[in-house]
Amino acid sequence: MNKKIAATFCLLLGFILNASAADGMEEVMFHSGKIYTFLVVAFIVLLGTFFYMFRIDKRLVKMEQDIEQMVKRSKR
């Protein structure tokens, strides 16, 4: 019984929050011929590419350190 009340309460809360949060976001996204929607999409693509490069960079740093260890060990 308590679970049902909690579930209904969450559902209603969700609707209320959704109604007010959507207005602000929608206003921006639908304004100016939806250019801002396009911008967000392009931005996501761009940031995704940069994060990918950043991850490769970090992996290379680790590989370089491993190689240094390997070279040091074999020179001993």
């Binding site: 250019i35 490069m53 490769i56 290379l60 590989m63």
Partner: protein
Amino acid sequence: MGNFKKYWWKLLGCVLVAFSVVMSFTTPLAAGVAEVTPTTTKKGKQLITIKGYNAHFKSGHNRFWLTGNHHTTLIPGTIKEIINENLIKVEFDIPEQLPSNNLALAVQSREDGGAVLEAAVFVSDASILAGMTTAIQMPMDQKADHFTFPFKNILYETIRNLNFHVTMWFALIGCMLISMIRSIQHLSSIEGLKHDRSANEGVRVGLLFGFLGLITGSVWARFTWGAWWVNDTKLNGAAISVLIYLAYILLRNSISEEQKRARIVAVYNIFAFVMMLVFIMILPRLTDSLHPGNGGNPAFSNYDLDNNMRMIFYPAVLGWILIGAWMINLRSRMSHINFTIHNHE
């Protein structure tokens, strides 16, 4: 955070490119004159229909003139009918004496700044008095009160491509410069192939930007000039430059002995860079060219690239060069690790 010294320029590249992308998409175009009808008219009271772009003709803050002799002869217009924000009918009382048959149409708006359409109206029965001016003078180059990109009649919104197409070519030159420096370093170092490997990766990353520049330029050309390719000095020069660097890759593959290959290819790389500069930058400026920025093409030249555009364009160029440098850095390190692993055992 001790590593920040090592990667600050990579972060800067990302920030600058992201900034230029956001501004390229969200900055509006300045108000301009898209079309004027009729294009041929006679002297006397004439009703001219003016089609604007991003204009606000309903605001009541617009003034119109037909101008001649570089905006020193001014014929004021009376607004007869405002159809919508971008369509208006204005009446001009065209006198008999004019400095030339071709009159420009100029708009001045308090919010949107000034806009001019050159050679908008041809007055067939004017009597020419070259060099005449009128008593009233108005500055025709007022700026809009908000941040805008310049309006150019052939380009319209594609002027935003400046931050994507042209930056690709600058990234190409940046990458090839790095590659050439590595080649010089290789030739002046005693042994080792580290610089040669970096030079190789530099050429490969540069070629990526070269191809992107060619493709983006082709698409841009198709929808502004009407053709995917024209026989134009700059375009041919750019294609030749890319071919020169493809030949670098071929040259590398044709020599199997490592030390000899590195030396020959390094010399070739230095010449390749110089030739690229000749083909892309020097030759196009010496001949007539359809391509903007060269050969007297009125589409846009350095004088039309206004300060707003420069504020976005220069950071974008630097950003993409840094991104190119980062890509070369990553690939060089990969190549070096590969070499170390294979030559260690």
